[in-house]
């Protein structure tokens, strides 16, 4: 009987087990990013910047050179790398605490300068690694360890929509928000990642893909229910879609 390989793990990822919690979508997102880099022939020269959060160990999983950044500083670190290694695909991999809290200035300015980098932004509305504190993207009334009675608008503000906000920055060329909660959305997310890296390698500027993600452990619900929760609660507030496509504007000139 002849066998044909119809699916195998991507060589964009190192052949090893991931250390993320069961049911965490980091696994899916890592895979999609790895697949895109591999299929586009970018993985060998790629340089990734790991951030501080649950994905602090991402430098063990992406099958390319990696550099660890201090909390929030990944876009600045990536700027240094891309300026010196412009031929490499350079990406950051950041959570919502890293990118939208301490790292807000860095991501805005990397976008502002139009750095040819790709930011992979994993938004699960909570601080995972440190045990479930409130994040800038935590929803109103959502209970976390530092919003024990639920997030309140007065005092902590409404959750921040990063893709919408960065769309107002001229240097940001491609911004899309995606989800990975079912195969259909995973396929769309992969296309978004492909587009983001195309923008980078065509030197068309800054790209970011924001992923709606889950955190079963700190949300306190099982993985399946977490996916449902993200669809029912996060997506209405953080609508999926393309928030900026500067490549279309270029072609109109």
């Amino acid at each position: 009987m002849k066998t044909k390989t119809i699916y195998k793990p991507t060589d964009g990822l190192v052949d090893r087990d991931l250390s993320y919690c069961p049911g965490c979508t980091h696994g899916i997102i890592h895979k999609l990013v790895g697949e895109v880099l591999s299929e586009k022939g970018l993985i060998d020269e790629a340089i990734g910047v790991a951030s501080v959060g649950c994905s602090v160990m991402s430098y063990e999983f992406f099958n390319c050179d990696m550099q660890q950044a201090a909390h929030g500083r990944a876009p600045a670190v990536a700027t240094g790398i891309k300026r010196v290694r412009p031929e490499s695909a350079v990406f950051t991999y950041q959570g919502d605490g890293d990118l939208a809290s301490i790292g807000m200035a860095e991501v805005v300015h990397a976008a502002h300068r139009g750095e040819n980098m790709t930011v992979i932004f994993v938004n699960n509305a909570i601080y995972g690694m440190t045990g479930g504190q409130m994040a800038p993207t935590t929803l109103l009334d959502q209970k976390t360890t530092t919003s024990p009675t639920g997030r309140k608008k007065i005092g902590t503000g409404e959750p921040i929509r990063v893709s919408e906000m960065l769309a107002t920055v001229p240097g940001a060329t491609y911004l899309e928000r995606v989800s990975v909660h079912d195969p259909k959305h995973m396929r769309k997310a992969k296309k978004a990642i492909e587009k983001a890296f195309d923008v980078q390698m065509n030197k068309q500027g800054f790209s970011m893909i924001e992923f709606i993600s889950t955190c079963p452990i700190n949300w306190g619900i099982n993985p399946n229910d977490s996916l449902k929760w993200s669809v029912e609660n996060m997506i209405p507030y953080y609508p999926l879609g393309v928030y900026k496509d500067g490549t279309k504007e270029d072609s109109n000139e």
Binding site: V56, A70, S101, M129, T130, Q133, T146, P148, T149, G155
Partner: protein, 356 residues
Amino acid sequence: MAKVLMKGNEAMALAAIKGGCDAFFGYPITPQNELPEYLSYHMEENDRIFVQAESEVAAINMVYGASGSGARVLTSSSSPGIALKQEGISYLVGSELPAVIINVMRGGPGLGGIQPSQADYNQITRTGGNGDMKVLSFAPENLQETVDIVKESFDLADYYRNPVMIAVDGLIGQMMEPIDIDKPIRKIELPKKDWTATGESKKRGKRNKIVSLHLDPYKLEEHNLNLQKKYDKMIENEQRYEMVNMDKNPEIVFVAYGSMARIARSAIDLLAEENIHVGMLRPISLFPYPQKAFDSLPKETKTLLTLEMSLGQMLQDVKIASNGKHTIEFFGRTGGVVPEAEEIVNKVKAILKEAK
């Protein structure tokens, strides 16, 4: 008073409330998260202020603002986060603002690790900020001592108009011990806070400015000389230490603080079982360094064995304080490794063997 079992981080948080803390600004970082988490609930309950800032830098600047407006303020973090705060701490010192800063130390450098460490000694005592700055700093060894010092620190900060740092290692932050949270602490007579920028310039009859910029170098020098007078007062009044087992006139004396001192106590007991009597000089204040303790060592003491959870940062201050009177030895573990008492015992035996 009945004792309650509490986790170090939470005990410090409660102690801050009892010490009259008006406002807390902080950010998540392991291993101190239980402190802001506790305050996120209890500050509101006590009608006080809690803000989870966007970063440690933002938090220390919120502290700076709130302090300038007259509040008793607290921030907490761990080693890499304290490093981020150093610019803000320099501004606090230069502007003569009170603040309490809790550092739950972890391994470094860089992102390091999350296990307990004492490798911030230089960051604390030399400070990581610019200019001639000093931070009144304490290193308690157990939860009761920690709680007492945290409570007192708000008065000390107000009295000196300077930041006060309490440095504990991750072990103290994470452990649970029974404490008497209402144990009375000494009350300090505090001067009126008439220098604060509270938005009452008309009522006050004069405008208050909180500034650390002095472009005229002679004025800046004068300002620094005044700060030095403050530091001198701290050196005069705030040296805190404990001498252990000195009645045995020990030849070898440990110099250790925090959890390392506690582990050393077990080493003292183990050695005593073999009729080897060592003493311990335990600094409780890191700045000012307890020079008085060194001056009071028995004349029989020949060797100071410095014990640290670092590559040896306090070692330099031990050498300075000893001023050539003793042989200085060192034993340390670093990276977040916590030593066992037996390791210290073995070091003492090695020293004694070499002496023969």
